[in-house]
Amino acid sequence: MATIPSPHTFRGGIHPAYNKALAAAEPIRELPLPARLTVPMSQHLGAPAKPAVKVGDTVAGGQLIAEAGGFISAPVHAPAAGKVVALEETLTASGRSCAAVVIETASEQVWQPLPTFPEWRFTTAKQLIDHIGTAGVVGMGGAGFPTRVKLSPPSDKPIDTVILNGAECEPYLTADHRMMLEHAAEIRIGAEIIRHILGARTLRVAIEDNKPDAIAAMEKVFQDMDGDVAVTVLHTSYPQGSEKQQIFSVTGREVPRGGLPMDVGCVVENVSTAFAVFDAVVNGRPLVRRVITVTGDAIAQPANLLAPCGTLYSDLVAACGGVAGRAAKVISGGPMMGFAVSSLAVPTGKTASGLLLLSPKKITGFTSQACIACGRCVDACPMRLSPAELSQCIEADDIDGAEQIALMDCIECGSCAFVCPARRPLVHHMRRGKAAVMARRAAAKKTP
């Protein structure tokens, strides 16, 4: 096992002020069980789950309360024992609403575990994959892609490298960092299970060089793992945690346009997802809770809370001493790609790893100024696009023109808008353009 500096780094990217000191030293603290949990049916990419319980049902912790809604979907389990009091629409962080199962938690907790696989080394990949799917494990790095699907690449796409994503490149967030410090051993087992399932030879644990203690912790537990295993120390740069950029930094391979990591023989999993895989396979625990960094300059006591899915943001804020001063923006996730929410009555899910409360001092508003063609966004874009030209096309409603200059390759990382001196809402333009392209493609499919 070696620790190697990453041989490459992607071109572009930015270096924002990280502000991780606010929460980096806070050990993971379990949130006291809230009285009510509003468990969303959509905590993952793909079709929402379909409720499998009715109002009035009593559920045990870990019990299945919603089935996967399709192939690209995941089931949802009860985070705690209690009674189902409502099936209603809830606001989610992205602004859309989705169905939710509201559970009033019981004072006496009962837990219903799934089967465990202590001899996972001798279990077939298919069995393990099905189990991970049954446990509702999804990617916990933010997108929530169902892990079962990610770990089942087609046979014509062999995987030789598994990359464990410990970069956590977003400013303010420290959840993955604390997981690596406090649960390194479990993460290692999860990584081994993933490598076993994929039949891959190589494992790389990718961590940015601004987390030397996490690098040391991971070095220690991966020390005696067999095979081609190494901790790769990445250059600290945003968005080093983005899949495509990370694969390049670790292996030098570029995921082809419109392609997926499996096209270059790689699978990237977040360290928290590796933990969830371990929890599911070894402990029979479905994914029902996660660590969330509650931080920012408008929260009294920043913390890394282990909270059950379905906890309202207001409960998280209360558990951290409440708002300090005035919160001008509340963000679900990190400041670069997170969603600004309009109220604290939003429940947590499996994917968002942060809740950021920012005071008016930290807010820089977008303007409607014209592009001055300074080119800083072109330098910053990690996908090597031209955000200046793209945003000008989209503003002029020239969606075809934008598509021709690679609009659909945009990963919405926000590096361009971060550096724009005219403070243009570049990512907003990209999203608007992409939505128009998708609408056109959908309409074209309908007309014969």
Binding site: G95, A340, V341, S342, S343, S368, P425, H428, R431, R432
Partner: protein, 273 residues
Amino acid sequence: MDPITTSTLCVGGIGLASAAALAVAEKYLSVPQDPRIGKVTEILPGANCGGCGYAGCADYARAIVVDNAECNLCAPGGAACAQAIASFLGRAAAAMERRVAIVLCCGDDTEALRRAAYNGIADCAAAQATAGGDKGCTYGCLGYGSCARVCPVNAIRIANGIAKVDKALCIACGKCVAACPRKLIKLVPAAAEIHVLCSSKDKGPAVKKVCGTGCIGCRICTKLADGAINMDGFLAVVDYAKPLTNEETVAKCPGHCIRKDPPASVQPPTPRS
């Protein structure tokens, strides 16, 4: 020869030659086209708004003459135009009623709450995609003007944070209907005067929390409208196929969301070419 004569002869010669070439091309290379298409194109108002579903007036004219498309699809042209085309082609004219667009929301910033401070592109779809929009009512008009921008005749005005269509100018092309991300705009008969200006499907108490002038689902109007207003869940909806003249519906609505328009012309406005 001096330069002036040379230049004049050269340029003049090129001009004459080009004109001759064009004349020859016009005679021998022209694409044969049914002459009726040209005449129908002339009858059509020439707004090229696309409301008929075809790519401009000439395309619609071709469709009428060649594909036997209906003559009454042109909203700006109206009944007069449909009649003229039908009689020119010797066909029976179908009935045509002038329609106008209407924004089914009256919750402007003096009545309806904003639940967040929106900072972003002044476009309704973009605002809707940002945390579900900044309006308290998730069904109401966001007022960022996407409909006003696509209107080819500038018939839509944004006042106090919501959109309002000027019936006198509207040519019912349907672009605003497509542009609205909340599907608030409908095409209704121009002759209809009483409308329920609310689209909120929320229950009464939920509506009142976010808007002082929304439909609370009390059903008083359904009793006064003689079948012309029906309930869609908690929302009153006008059935424009039935006549609605009872002004008590306006007076007795507790949410003041039923309004009566001043009368509008049954002739569409003359489009400026």
